[in-house]
Symmetry: C2
């Protein structure tokens, strides 16, 4: 059985990605990050999903990006609501170097357990305009991984980075997960939950999620 590190945030995309990795027959090493995000509800969902999907191990790596500041997701800057989501602009919810940091940790773990693949649920279709969600970024990371690691340098290790959602719209992602039995009631997307712990319905992430379910012709079970 081949091993895969799966980056799981408890959100819609990464949970779908987890289901796809499991469906591909990998033994799952789920990796989440407690990075000082405001929406820590995500992590409870990530833990539940890793269990439900039979992950061999789930690590929540605690890293503090708040010391660097610079993003509405980790600092006191307000999360924008009902933005026009213009993909030409990179929004304030962008966390500097986040996916680079996440993939670096995944790379370290992959090397230790000798995993064949790292799964990351980035999409360059219905996304928020973050630079580190694009195929060229992923390819640059693959190139780096080859030079960064013992196995890569010795030629004994051909790590793949799997991005099964990269060309999928949010609706296609929802449909893919639905087919694989993902329980979307146990996922979390909102950047800025209400004090009662409900999705705000207006941040970029809520808007994209709603669009995805609507276009997929499905009801979001989280909202029921």
């Amino acid at each position: 059985m081949t091993k895969a590190i799966v980056l799981t945030s408890g959100g819609l995309d990464s949970t779908t990605c987890l289901a796809i990795a499991r469906d591909a027959g990998h033994e799952i090493y789920a990796l989440s990050f407690d990075y000082g995000q405001r929406h820590a509800l995500e992590l409870a969902m990530a833990k539940r999903q890793a269990e439900m999907m039979g992950a061999k191990k789930h690590v929540i790596a605690k890293i503090d990006l708040r010391e660097f500041g610079g993003s509405a997701l980790t600092s006191d800057i307000n999360v924008p609501k009902n933005s026009t989501n213009n993909q030409e602009l990179i929004p304030i919810t962008y966390v500097p170097a986040r996916n680079t940091i996440f993939l670096s940790f995944a790379l370290g773990w992959a090397e230790v357990v000798d995993a064949d693949a790292i799964y990351i649920g980035v999409s360059s279709v219905d996304y928020s305009g973050y630079p580190d969600c694009r195929p060229e970024f992923i390819q640059a990371f693959v190139d780096l991984a080859k030079l960064a690691t013992k196995g890569g340098v010795e030629g004994s290790w051909n790590l793949r980075i799997e991005t099964p959602l990269i060309a999928l719209s949010k609706a296609d992602t929802v449909l893919a997960g639905h087919k694989l039995g993902v329980d979307y009631a146990q996922t979390w997307s909102c950047y800025d939950p209400t004090p009662a712990g409900k999705p705000c319905g207006a941040c970029d992430s809520c808007v994209l999620r709603a669009k995805g379910f609507a276009e997929a012709g499905l009801r979001d079970p989280l909202l029921s």
Copy 2:
């Protein structure tokens, strides 16, 4: 005044690197990692050096690589002593993806403060054979950084990664630091200190340090 992130471990190389960055006229943002290393004495030295060199800020980012295991520096595997330091083999003190992770954090901070450069004290001459200390690895990270960041993608940011020690022998590094007034009594290199807090004198890092001072014709003030 241009800004530079300087990766500082409190060791001989990174402290020399700190002095070089300061000498180049940068405002210094010093970045260290508490990554579960056995030799945590390093961090006290890093803090002292950042202060002594007038760093604008010093962040010690706490990350736990022990959860992944796989290295004598972070787990219960014994640190090898008096090894032949054959550079063909990558030793057990290698921490998986360590420099990739460190540079990723540096990249995030560099983006937030709009730094011009990241300084990292890697050397591909008198080194321990780690893959992530070589020029081709550094170049791959520069390529990644361009694609990973808002400023890189928008073309407004040309981050440099400075590796002033990459072609220096340990002796040349000691001489460079000596010239800049580095207080090497306030640095730490040993991977496996004695219970009394003295350098073991036999691990790879102690052996390389001793060789450096000997070839530079200088006395190591840490050992007095």
